[in-house]
């Protein structure tokens, strides 16, 4: 916002491009962005990159240690762990992004309605969120996941249910802040419809904190998804989801630690890059905190 005032009279820069400029200067954030995009591309083009199929068994070569043939070794059925991790990226990233997209759209919708209209609607929506939040998120995801059964779609729903309140509250708070701004009043004075005010005028100005939260939320969702598969809910083996691979490898950890090491490292890398990007976005959108 400040930047806009300074460049008054010149070509106005959009918030997005200012943010992107600031983001580009942050080496950590750029690194995170590169990593996560690379992981996405690798996951999408898995069949081209992976040296073996994810279900291809080599029963003469079970539990082989990492070698030139099998970079990360093989598991109890002789499946190549490196290939499985590459395919697994499809599931983990899909779940992470899917869960956040779902939670975000519902949460933003609830929050903007509550913040914009206030009154009874606000009161009811907030009480509903209170109830949802008095069950710790993790427990909520576990319960919903048990109800719906395993599978990617169900896992996405289970993860998003517990994070909707966070997005809704944040959106509501931001909407309350900008509800009385001049430009909203201006839009109202020219008799714009409520939906137009919300979507065209207020949302673009209120989305910044949500973007940061969503980036971190994807990281969190990947962590929780792995945990769900690990305790036997969510996505189940033989699907090469990273958490499911950990849960399979856990039984052999004493003799074959590589079964547990590499899928875990994949999770750490994905989550770390998203967190790095999220940190960078936060600083770029809110330079005050940087001092």
């Amino acid at each position: 916002m400040r930047g806009d005032l300074k460049s008054k009279g010149f070509k106005k820069e959009s918030m997005l491009s200012t943010t992107f400029h600031r983001l580009r200067k942050n080496r950590m954030a750029v690194l995170g962005l590169i990593f996560i995009v690379a992981m996405g591309i690798i996951a999408i083009s898995a069949p081209l990159i992976a040296p073996y199929g994810y279900e291809e068994q080599d029963l003469y070569n079970i539990f082989s240690k990492p070698s030139a043939n099998h970079w990360f070794g093989t598991d109890s059925l002789g499946r190549d762990i490196f290939s499985r991790i590459i395919y697994g990226g499809r599931y983990s990233l899909q779940i992470g992004f899917g869960a956040v997209a779902l939670a975000c759209s519902i949460g933003v919708m609830m929050g903007s309605l509550a913040g914009f209209y206030g009154g009874k609607l606000d009161l009811i929506l907030m009480r509903v969120l209170d109830v949802m939040q008095s069950i710790p998120g993790l427990l909520m995801s576990i319960a919903v996941s048990a109800t719906l059964g395993s599978g990617i779609g169900n896992c996405i729903i289970a993860l998003s249910v517990s994070t909707i309140p966070g997005y809704a509250r944040m959106m509501r708070a931001t909407m309350l802040n900008i509800r009385d701004m001049e430009y909203v009043e201006a839009a109202r004075s020219v008799n714009a419809k409520d939906s137009r005010i919300i979507f065209r005028h207020m949302l673009p100005n209120a989305l910044a904190p949500t973007i940061v939260q969503a980036t971190m939320g994807i990281a969190q969702a990947i962590l929780v998804a792995a945990m769900l598969s690990f305790i036997g809910l969510g996505v189940q083996p033989p699907t090469p989801e990273w958490g499911a691979m950990l849960s399979e490898g856990r039984n052999y950890i004493r003799d074959y630690p590589h079964l547990v090491l590499f899928p875990g490292l994949a999770i750490v890398l994905a989550v770390l890059s998203l967190n790095m990007l999220g940190d960078g976005l936060r600083d770029a959108l809110d330079p005050r905190l940087k001092n």
Binding site: V131, I135, G264, V271, N291
Partner: protein
């Protein structure tokens, strides 16, 4: 103050009723028939029907919900487990000490490591100390706790044999599970401490404290940290509350008979009373911790304390 506490506890009632309804509904729609699961695959159809009748599973949604609410809130009975017929309330009470110990120790670890790390980072902003500790914290929040637990148990229990790999007993049994939970908590407390400290460290009162020649240690701890403490306390409280609901994964990995394992096994075997009872316990524990956190605010921050006193005075006078 007391008025405020009573009011908060009364406000918990609708929330807890809401939670009861929510979890009851979720369990109602959960596929899988507890009677069939209990009796196994060799049971005849008549036996299953009889069992369903005995457990009251054939009644409608409303009848079952009203019966459950009456049982819990009028008779104060959480019911018996379908699987081993033991009272859910007693079982939770027996498991609580383990979960409490794990929660308390891991929060202490997280605070003792996380806060100094965050303070050090903030005081030395943009130096290698700051960058290094924040990198550490970033990696810390990015690691799945259960993976850390597995690696720790591989190194210290299975390879080196210094610590027991699972079970409960002396303090040695708690070290690995609490460390594996503490790593994430420590990292997020460090990050919160740093950003909180950075917000206050350039305030006028900190400059004033330095200007009057106060010792640096007192400036940092007495003036800056004290004002940055509120969000840190919130985070510590939330972590403690979540851990009290049972570290499901850490308890599973290290075979601790706490509330987390109880809940997971209940969910898996469709043991409705167990799931409903333990979720109810979690909701109550969580709300109480949050109330405690609000009271600690008043203890830490005289401005908040004054608000409570003003309120009660005004009410007392009216």
């Amino acid at each position: 103050m007391i008025r405020y506490i009573v009011k908060r506890i009364l406000l918990m009632i609708p929330v807890i009723l809401g939670v009861t309804w929510l979890i009851f509904t979720i369990m109602y729609f959960t596929p899988g028939d507890p009677a069939r699961m209990l009796l196994g695959s060799d049971a005849t159809e008549e036996e299953i029907v009889a069992k369903q009748e005995a457990l009251g599973l054939n009644d409608g949604y409303v009848v079952r919900f009203v019966r459950y609410v009456k049982q819990v809130f009028v008779d104060f009975d959480l019911g018996n487990s379908y699987v081993n017929n033991r009272n859910v309330g007693t079982e939770i009470a027996q498991r609580f000490p383990y979960t409490f110990r794990v929660a308390a120790i891991s929060v202490v670890i997280a605070v003792l490591l996380g806060m100094p790390l965050g303070i050090m980072a903030a005081v030395n902003q943009y130096t290698w100390k700051d960058n290094f500790s924040m990198l550490l914290a970033l990696v810390g929040i990015s690691m799945p706790g259960f993976w850390v637990g597995l690696l720790l148990s591989l190194l210290f229990a299975l390879t080196l044999g210094w610590l027991p790999a699972s079970g409960v007993g002396g303090i040695a049994y708690y070290i690995l599970p609490c460390l594996s939970i503490g790593v994430n908590g420590c990292a997020s407390i460090a990050r919160q401490t740093r950003s909180g400290m950075l917000e206050v460290i350039r305030q006028d009162y900190v400059v004033t404290a330095r200007a009057k020649g106060q010792v640096e240690r007192k400036v940092i701890y007495g003036h800056a940290l004290r004002n940055a403490l509120i969000p840190i306390i919130t985070q510590i409280g939330t972590m403690f509350g979540i851990q009290l609901s049972g570290a499901m994964v850490a308890e599973t990995i290290f075979s601790i008979p706490g509330i987390g394992t109880y809940m997971v096994s209940g969910i898996k075997s469709r043991d409705y009373p167990v799931v409903q009872g333990s979720v109810l316990y979690v909701a109550i524990a969580f709300s109480l911790i949050m109330l405690l956190v609000d009271l600690v605010y008043a203890f830490v921050d005289p401005r908040i304390r004054a608000q409570y006193q003003k309120k009660s005075k005004r009410k007392g006078g009216a």
